[in-house]
Symmetry: C2
Subunit: 188 residues, 2 copies
DNA sequence: ATAGATAATCTATCACTGATAGATTCTTTC
DNA sequence: GAAAGAATCTATCAGTGATAGATTATCTAT
Protein backbone atom coordinates (compact mmCIF):
# COMPACT_ATOMS: atom_id res chain seq x y z
CA UNK A 1 0.00 0.00 0.00
CA UNK A 2 2.80 2.39 0.90
CA UNK A 3 4.75 3.78 -2.03
CA UNK A 4 8.55 3.61 -1.99
CA UNK A 5 8.56 7.33 -1.35
CA UNK A 6 6.36 6.98 1.70
CA UNK A 7 8.39 4.06 2.93
CA UNK A 8 11.62 5.99 2.72
CA UNK A 9 9.95 8.92 4.38
CA UNK A 10 8.88 6.84 7.35
CA UNK A 11 12.21 5.11 7.67
CA UNK A 12 13.97 8.45 7.68
CA UNK A 13 11.57 9.80 10.27
CA UNK A 14 12.36 6.85 12.52
CA UNK A 15 16.05 7.47 12.05
CA UNK A 16 15.68 11.11 13.02
CA UNK A 17 13.77 10.17 16.16
CA UNK A 18 16.33 7.53 17.08
CA UNK A 19 19.25 9.88 16.62
CA UNK A 20 17.52 12.63 18.58
CA UNK A 21 16.98 10.24 21.44
CA UNK A 22 20.51 8.95 21.24
CA UNK A 23 22.12 12.35 21.26
CA UNK A 24 19.86 13.47 24.10
CA UNK A 25 20.83 10.48 26.22
CA UNK A 26 24.53 10.86 25.61
CA UNK A 27 24.92 14.65 25.56
CA UNK A 28 21.67 16.18 26.72
CA UNK A 29 18.81 17.81 24.84
CA UNK A 30 20.76 20.99 24.21
CA UNK A 31 23.02 19.02 21.88
CA UNK A 32 20.08 17.92 19.75
CA UNK A 33 20.13 20.40 16.89
CA UNK A 34 18.51 20.25 13.48
CA UNK A 35 21.86 20.60 11.75
CA UNK A 36 23.40 17.75 13.64
CA UNK A 37 20.42 15.48 13.01
CA UNK A 38 20.50 16.38 9.32
CA UNK A 39 24.17 15.49 9.21
CA UNK A 40 23.51 12.13 10.83
CA UNK A 41 20.94 11.17 8.22
CA UNK A 42 22.99 12.63 5.36
CA UNK A 43 20.65 15.38 4.33
CA UNK A 44 20.54 19.13 4.50
CA UNK A 45 19.21 20.83 7.58
CA UNK A 46 15.80 21.97 6.28
CA UNK A 47 14.84 18.36 5.57
CA UNK A 48 14.12 17.96 9.26
CA UNK A 49 11.23 20.35 8.78
CA UNK A 50 9.70 18.02 6.22
CA UNK A 51 9.13 15.69 9.13
CA UNK A 52 8.52 17.97 12.07
CA UNK A 53 6.93 21.39 12.16
CA UNK A 54 9.42 22.52 14.80
CA UNK A 55 12.09 21.23 17.11
CA UNK A 56 9.47 20.92 19.80
CA UNK A 57 7.38 18.65 17.62
CA UNK A 58 10.41 16.46 17.10
CA UNK A 59 10.92 16.18 20.84
CA UNK A 60 7.22 15.41 21.19
CA UNK A 61 7.65 12.48 18.81
CA UNK A 62 10.39 11.09 21.04
CA UNK A 63 8.17 11.64 24.05
CA UNK A 64 5.29 9.76 22.46
CA UNK A 65 7.59 6.84 21.80
CA UNK A 66 8.62 6.99 25.43
CA UNK A 67 5.06 6.71 26.62
CA UNK A 68 4.47 3.68 24.44
CA UNK A 69 7.44 2.01 26.10
CA UNK A 70 6.33 3.07 29.54
CA UNK A 71 2.87 1.63 28.95
CA UNK A 72 4.17 -1.77 27.95
CA UNK A 73 6.54 -1.67 30.89
CA UNK A 74 3.63 -1.04 33.24
CA UNK A 75 1.64 -3.87 31.65
CA UNK A 76 4.58 -6.23 32.00
CA UNK A 77 5.14 -5.38 35.63
CA UNK A 78 1.44 -5.79 36.20
CA UNK A 79 1.26 -9.19 34.52
CA UNK A 80 4.43 -10.60 36.05
CA UNK A 81 4.45 -13.01 38.94
CA UNK A 82 3.39 -11.10 41.97
CA UNK A 83 2.48 -8.10 39.90
CA UNK A 84 2.25 -5.98 42.99
CA UNK A 85 2.74 -2.28 43.51
CA UNK A 86 6.31 -2.68 44.67
CA UNK A 87 7.33 -4.29 41.44
CA UNK A 88 5.65 -1.56 39.41
CA UNK A 89 7.33 1.09 41.50
CA UNK A 90 10.77 -0.36 40.89
CA UNK A 91 10.09 -0.75 37.19
CA UNK A 92 9.13 2.90 37.01
CA UNK A 93 12.24 4.01 38.85
CA UNK A 94 14.39 1.85 36.58
CA UNK A 95 12.77 3.29 33.50
CA UNK A 96 13.80 6.76 34.61
CA UNK A 97 17.28 5.68 35.53
CA UNK A 98 17.87 3.90 32.24
CA UNK A 99 16.47 6.67 30.07
CA UNK A 100 17.14 9.91 31.94
CA UNK A 101 16.93 12.21 28.94
CA UNK A 102 13.82 10.53 27.62
CA UNK A 103 12.26 10.75 31.06
CA UNK A 104 13.20 14.39 31.31
CA UNK A 105 11.48 15.13 28.02
CA UNK A 106 8.41 13.13 29.01
CA UNK A 107 7.88 14.72 32.39
CA UNK A 108 9.84 17.84 33.08
CA UNK A 109 10.66 19.68 29.90
CA UNK A 110 8.19 22.25 28.66
CA UNK A 111 6.07 20.82 25.88
CA UNK A 112 2.96 21.64 23.93
CA UNK A 113 1.60 18.17 24.70
CA UNK A 114 -1.26 18.40 27.14
CA UNK A 115 -2.22 15.58 29.44
CA UNK A 116 -5.51 14.54 30.95
CA UNK A 117 -7.43 16.50 28.35
CA UNK A 118 -9.61 15.89 25.33
CA UNK A 119 -6.83 16.27 22.78
CA UNK A 120 -4.36 14.19 24.74
CA UNK A 121 -2.74 11.66 22.39
CA UNK A 122 -3.84 8.08 22.95
CA UNK A 123 -0.31 6.95 23.78
CA UNK A 124 -0.19 9.22 26.82
CA UNK A 125 -3.65 8.29 27.97
CA UNK A 126 -2.85 4.60 27.83
CA UNK A 127 0.01 4.91 30.27
CA UNK A 128 -2.32 6.45 32.81
CA UNK A 129 -4.98 3.83 32.18
CA UNK A 130 -2.50 0.99 32.52
CA UNK A 131 -1.40 2.48 35.82
CA UNK A 132 -4.99 2.88 37.00
CA UNK A 133 -5.66 -0.78 36.37
CA UNK A 134 -2.86 -1.80 38.67
CA UNK A 135 -4.08 0.58 41.33
CA UNK A 136 -7.59 -0.85 41.17
CA UNK A 137 -6.22 -4.32 41.63
CA UNK A 138 -3.95 -3.32 44.51
CA UNK A 139 -6.30 -1.03 46.35
CA UNK A 140 -9.51 -3.04 46.01
CA UNK A 141 -12.93 -1.79 45.02
CA UNK A 142 -13.25 1.97 45.08
CA UNK A 143 -15.15 4.73 43.39
CA UNK A 144 -13.72 5.91 40.08
CA UNK A 145 -12.96 9.22 41.71
CA UNK A 146 -10.73 7.55 44.25
CA UNK A 147 -8.98 5.45 41.65
CA UNK A 148 -8.08 8.55 39.66
CA UNK A 149 -6.84 10.33 42.78
CA UNK A 150 -4.82 7.34 43.91
CA UNK A 151 -3.33 6.81 40.49
CA UNK A 152 -2.27 10.42 40.35
CA UNK A 153 -0.79 10.19 43.82
CA UNK A 154 1.11 7.01 43.06
CA UNK A 155 2.41 8.47 39.84
CA UNK A 156 3.34 11.76 41.45
CA UNK A 157 5.24 10.04 44.22
CA UNK A 158 7.17 7.75 41.88
CA UNK A 159 7.83 10.71 39.66
CA UNK A 160 8.98 12.87 42.55
CA UNK A 161 11.54 10.30 43.62
CA UNK A 162 12.71 9.72 40.06
CA UNK A 163 12.85 13.38 39.17
CA UNK A 164 14.76 14.49 42.25
CA UNK A 165 17.04 11.51 41.96
CA UNK A 166 17.88 12.11 38.29
CA UNK A 167 18.43 15.80 38.91
CA UNK A 168 20.88 14.99 41.67
CA UNK A 169 18.61 16.47 44.33
CA UNK A 170 18.43 13.36 46.50
CA UNK A 171 20.71 10.34 46.76
CA UNK A 172 19.20 6.91 46.21
CA UNK A 173 20.24 5.53 49.56
CA UNK A 174 16.81 5.15 51.10
CA UNK A 175 14.79 3.97 48.16
CA UNK A 176 13.84 0.58 49.60
CA UNK A 177 12.04 1.91 52.62
CA UNK A 178 10.54 4.74 50.64
CA UNK A 179 9.07 2.42 48.05
CA UNK A 180 7.51 0.29 50.79
CA UNK A 181 5.93 3.32 52.39
CA UNK A 182 4.50 4.52 49.09
CA UNK A 183 2.88 1.18 48.39
CA UNK A 184 1.44 0.97 51.88
CA UNK A 185 -0.01 4.43 51.45
CA UNK A 186 -1.72 3.48 48.20
CA UNK A 187 -3.14 0.22 49.49
CA UNK A 188 -4.73 2.22 52.25
CA UNK B 1 32.82 49.66 54.12
CA UNK B 2 31.59 49.12 50.59
CA UNK B 3 32.84 51.59 48.01
CA UNK B 4 30.34 53.34 45.74
CA UNK B 5 31.60 51.17 42.95
CA UNK B 6 30.91 47.98 44.84
CA UNK B 7 27.51 49.27 45.92
CA UNK B 8 26.48 50.01 42.38
CA UNK B 9 27.80 46.63 41.32
CA UNK B 10 25.66 44.82 43.85
CA UNK B 11 22.58 46.85 43.11
CA UNK B 12 22.94 46.12 39.45
CA UNK B 13 23.41 42.44 40.15
CA UNK B 14 20.17 42.40 42.11
CA UNK B 15 18.40 44.13 39.26
CA UNK B 16 19.65 41.56 36.77
CA UNK B 17 18.45 38.73 38.97
CA UNK B 18 15.05 40.38 39.46
CA UNK B 19 14.58 40.96 35.77
CA UNK B 20 15.64 37.43 34.93
CA UNK B 21 13.10 36.08 37.36
CA UNK B 22 10.41 38.43 36.09
CA UNK B 23 10.92 37.55 32.45
CA UNK B 24 11.04 33.87 33.28
CA UNK B 25 7.74 34.04 35.15
CA UNK B 26 5.97 35.99 32.45
CA UNK B 27 7.46 34.49 29.30
CA UNK B 28 9.44 31.43 30.29
CA UNK B 29 13.17 30.83 30.69
CA UNK B 30 13.76 30.72 26.95
CA UNK B 31 12.94 34.43 26.83
CA UNK B 32 15.66 35.26 29.36
CA UNK B 33 18.57 36.33 27.16
CA UNK B 34 21.67 38.28 28.01
CA UNK B 35 20.82 40.95 25.47
CA UNK B 36 17.38 41.50 26.84
CA UNK B 37 18.63 41.69 30.41
CA UNK B 38 21.33 44.15 29.35
CA UNK B 39 18.70 46.30 27.70
CA UNK B 40 16.58 46.29 30.83
CA UNK B 41 19.42 47.57 32.97
CA UNK B 42 20.59 50.02 30.29
CA UNK B 43 23.96 48.51 29.60
CA UNK B 44 25.61 46.61 26.80
CA UNK B 45 25.25 42.87 26.62
CA UNK B 46 28.73 41.83 27.78
CA UNK B 47 28.17 43.59 31.10
CA UNK B 48 26.09 40.61 32.17
CA UNK B 49 29.31 38.60 32.14
CA UNK B 50 30.85 40.95 34.65
CA UNK B 51 28.31 39.53 37.07
CA UNK B 52 27.85 35.95 35.95
CA UNK B 53 30.31 33.59 34.34
CA UNK B 54 27.58 32.17 32.14
CA UNK B 55 23.84 32.17 31.64
CA UNK B 56 23.64 29.08 33.78
CA UNK B 57 25.33 30.85 36.66
CA UNK B 58 22.77 33.62 36.37
CA UNK B 59 19.94 31.11 36.58
CA UNK B 60 21.70 29.53 39.56
CA UNK B 61 21.63 32.90 41.32
CA UNK B 62 17.87 33.05 40.85
CA UNK B 63 17.59 29.50 42.10
CA UNK B 64 19.57 30.30 45.23
CA UNK B 65 17.24 33.18 45.96
CA UNK B 66 14.34 30.80 45.50
CA UNK B 67 15.71 28.41 48.08
CA UNK B 68 16.12 31.22 50.59
CA UNK B 69 12.45 32.04 50.14
CA UNK B 70 11.42 28.42 50.34
CA UNK B 71 13.33 28.01 53.58
CA UNK B 72 11.63 30.92 55.27
CA UNK B 73 8.31 29.68 53.96
CA UNK B 74 8.93 26.28 55.55
CA UNK B 75 9.93 27.92 58.82
CA UNK B 76 6.80 30.07 58.80
CA UNK B 77 4.52 27.13 58.10
CA UNK B 78 6.30 25.22 60.82
CA UNK B 79 5.95 28.01 63.39
CA UNK B 80 2.35 28.91 62.59
CA UNK B 81 -0.58 27.82 64.71
CA UNK B 82 -0.97 24.12 64.20
CA UNK B 83 2.26 23.92 62.29
CA UNK B 84 1.39 20.48 61.07
CA UNK B 85 2.41 18.60 58.00
CA UNK B 86 -0.76 19.49 56.13
CA UNK B 87 -0.05 23.17 56.42
CA UNK B 88 3.49 22.71 55.20
CA UNK B 89 2.29 20.64 52.31
CA UNK B 90 -0.14 23.30 51.18
CA UNK B 91 2.48 26.02 51.57
CA UNK B 92 4.83 24.04 49.38
CA UNK B 93 2.20 23.51 46.70
CA UNK B 94 1.34 27.20 46.78
CA UNK B 95 4.96 28.17 46.44
CA UNK B 96 5.16 26.19 43.23
CA UNK B 97 1.90 27.53 41.91
CA UNK B 98 2.81 31.14 42.59
CA UNK B 99 6.33 30.89 41.18
CA UNK B 100 6.17 28.27 38.45
CA UNK B 101 9.24 29.42 36.53
CA UNK B 102 11.28 29.80 39.69
CA UNK B 103 10.17 26.37 40.82
CA UNK B 104 11.05 24.92 37.47
CA UNK B 105 14.56 26.34 37.70
CA UNK B 106 14.95 25.11 41.25
CA UNK B 107 13.85 21.55 40.66
CA UNK B 108 13.58 20.46 37.09
CA UNK B 109 15.92 22.44 34.88
CA UNK B 110 19.42 21.10 34.36
CA UNK B 111 21.87 22.94 36.56
CA UNK B 112 25.43 22.67 37.72
CA UNK B 113 24.24 23.07 41.31
CA UNK B 114 24.61 19.82 43.19
CA UNK B 115 22.46 18.92 46.17
CA UNK B 116 23.06 16.78 49.17
CA UNK B 117 26.82 16.97 48.68
CA UNK B 118 29.82 18.58 50.25
CA UNK B 119 29.89 21.59 47.96
CA UNK B 120 26.16 22.18 48.17
CA UNK B 121 25.53 25.87 48.86
CA UNK B 122 24.26 26.61 52.35
CA UNK B 123 21.01 28.08 51.06
CA UNK B 124 20.02 24.77 49.52
CA UNK B 125 21.05 22.76 52.55
CA UNK B 126 18.98 24.93 54.84
CA UNK B 127 15.77 24.19 53.00
CA UNK B 128 16.30 20.50 53.54
CA UNK B 129 17.20 21.00 57.18
CA UNK B 130 14.16 23.15 57.81
CA UNK B 131 12.03 20.44 56.27
CA UNK B 132 13.72 17.74 58.34
CA UNK B 133 12.90 19.62 61.54
CA UNK B 134 9.21 19.58 60.73
CA UNK B 135 9.36 15.90 59.92
CA UNK B 136 11.03 15.12 63.21
CA UNK B 137 8.31 16.96 65.06
CA UNK B 138 5.51 15.30 63.12
CA UNK B 139 6.85 11.79 63.02
CA UNK B 140 8.15 11.54 66.55
CA UNK B 141 11.49 10.17 67.66
CA UNK B 142 13.33 8.28 65.02
CA UNK B 143 16.84 7.44 63.96
CA UNK B 144 18.57 10.08 61.86
CA UNK B 145 18.57 7.65 59.00
CA UNK B 146 14.79 7.47 59.07
CA UNK B 147 14.41 11.21 59.32
CA UNK B 148 16.49 11.71 56.21
CA UNK B 149 14.54 9.06 54.34
CA UNK B 150 11.20 10.45 55.46
CA UNK B 151 12.19 13.99 54.60
CA UNK B 152 13.25 12.91 51.14
CA UNK B 153 10.01 11.00 50.70
CA UNK B 154 7.87 13.92 51.85
CA UNK B 155 9.76 16.30 49.62
CA UNK B 156 9.61 13.96 46.65
CA UNK B 157 5.90 13.48 47.02
CA UNK B 158 5.13 17.19 47.32
CA UNK B 159 7.47 17.81 44.43
CA UNK B 160 5.86 15.12 42.32
CA UNK B 161 2.42 16.63 42.77
CA UNK B 162 3.70 20.15 42.14
CA UNK B 163 5.80 19.21 39.17
CA UNK B 164 3.15 17.18 37.37
CA UNK B 165 0.56 19.81 38.18
CA UNK B 166 2.65 22.71 36.86
CA UNK B 167 3.54 20.79 33.73
CA UNK B 168 -0.13 20.14 33.04
CA UNK B 169 0.27 16.41 33.58
CA UNK B 170 -2.38 16.08 36.27
CA UNK B 171 -5.35 18.27 37.16
CA UNK B 172 -5.57 19.61 40.71
CA UNK B 173 -8.97 18.15 41.42
CA UNK B 174 -7.97 15.62 44.01
CA UNK B 175 -5.36 17.53 45.95
CA UNK B 176 -7.19 17.58 49.27
CA UNK B 177 -7.40 13.83 49.67
CA UNK B 178 -3.92 13.37 48.27
CA UNK B 179 -2.38 15.77 50.77
CA UNK B 180 -4.08 13.97 53.63
CA UNK B 181 -2.75 10.64 52.45
CA UNK B 182 0.77 11.97 52.14
CA UNK B 183 0.75 13.31 55.67
CA UNK B 184 -0.67 10.09 57.06
CA UNK B 185 2.08 8.18 55.30
CA UNK B 186 4.80 10.35 56.81
CA UNK B 187 3.42 10.23 60.35
CA UNK B 188 3.50 6.48 59.99
C1' DA C 1 9.70 6.85 -23.88
C1' DT C 2 9.03 11.44 -23.09
C1' DA C 3 6.88 15.95 -21.74
C1' DG C 4 4.60 18.21 -18.12
C1' DA C 5 3.30 18.56 -13.46
C1' DT C 6 4.34 17.77 -8.82
C1' DA C 7 6.92 16.92 -4.92
C1' DA C 8 11.32 16.85 -2.48
C1' DT C 9 15.66 18.79 -1.62
C1' DC C 10 19.25 22.08 -1.60
C1' DT C 11 21.64 26.58 -1.06
C1' DA C 12 21.37 30.86 1.03
C1' DT C 13 19.67 33.64 4.31
C1' DC C 14 17.37 35.73 8.47
C1' DA C 15 17.16 37.01 13.21
C1' DC C 16 18.54 35.38 17.21
C1' DT C 17 21.54 33.14 20.93
C1' DG C 18 25.79 32.85 24.41
C1' DA C 19 30.29 34.17 24.66
C1' DT C 20 34.80 36.68 23.95
C1' DA C 21 38.70 39.96 22.16
C1' DG C 22 40.32 44.35 21.86
C1' DA C 23 39.66 49.31 21.72
C1' DT C 24 37.90 52.96 24.57
C1' DT C 25 36.25 55.43 28.31
C1' DC C 26 35.66 56.27 32.99
C1' DT C 27 37.66 56.02 38.10
C1' DT C 28 40.75 55.96 41.26
C1' DT C 29 45.22 56.92 43.18
C1' DC C 30 49.37 59.22 43.62
C1' DG D 1 46.44 66.96 36.92
C1' DA D 2 48.87 62.64 35.17
C1' DA D 3 49.49 57.74 35.30
C1' DA D 4 47.52 53.26 36.39
C1' DG D 5 43.79 50.50 36.73
C1' DA D 6 39.19 48.90 36.18
C1' DA D 7 34.92 48.92 33.77
C1' DT D 8 32.39 49.27 29.67
C1' DC D 9 31.68 49.47 24.88
C1' DT D 10 31.74 48.01 19.94
C1' DA D 11 32.52 44.35 16.98
C1' DT D 12 32.73 39.76 16.20
C1' DC D 13 32.47 34.59 16.41
C1' DA D 14 30.22 30.21 16.00
C1' DG D 15 26.13 28.24 16.65
C1' DT D 16 20.85 27.98 16.83
C1' DG D 17 15.77 27.40 14.74
C1' DA D 18 13.33 28.56 10.91
C1' DT D 19 12.07 30.03 6.06
C1' DA D 20 12.23 31.60 0.94
C1' DG D 21 13.34 30.56 -3.50
C1' DA D 22 16.07 28.08 -6.88
C1' DT D 23 17.03 23.45 -8.29
C1' DT D 24 16.65 18.73 -8.84
C1' DA D 25 14.41 14.40 -8.63
C1' DT D 26 10.15 11.76 -9.09
C1' DC D 27 5.81 10.50 -10.64
C1' DT D 28 1.88 10.71 -14.11
C1' DA D 29 -0.29 10.83 -18.36
C1' DT D 30 0.03 10.75 -23.02
Amino acid sequence: MASPRERRYRIRQERIIEHARGIAESEGWAAVSTRRLAQQIDHSQPVIYQHFRSREHLVAAVVTQGFVELTSLIREASAAAGGGLEQLCWSYLDFGRQNPALYEAMFTRPTHLRFAQEDTPAELRESFEALAEVIVRAAGDRADEDVAALTELFWATCHGLTSLHLAGRIPGDHLKGQVERICTMIRG
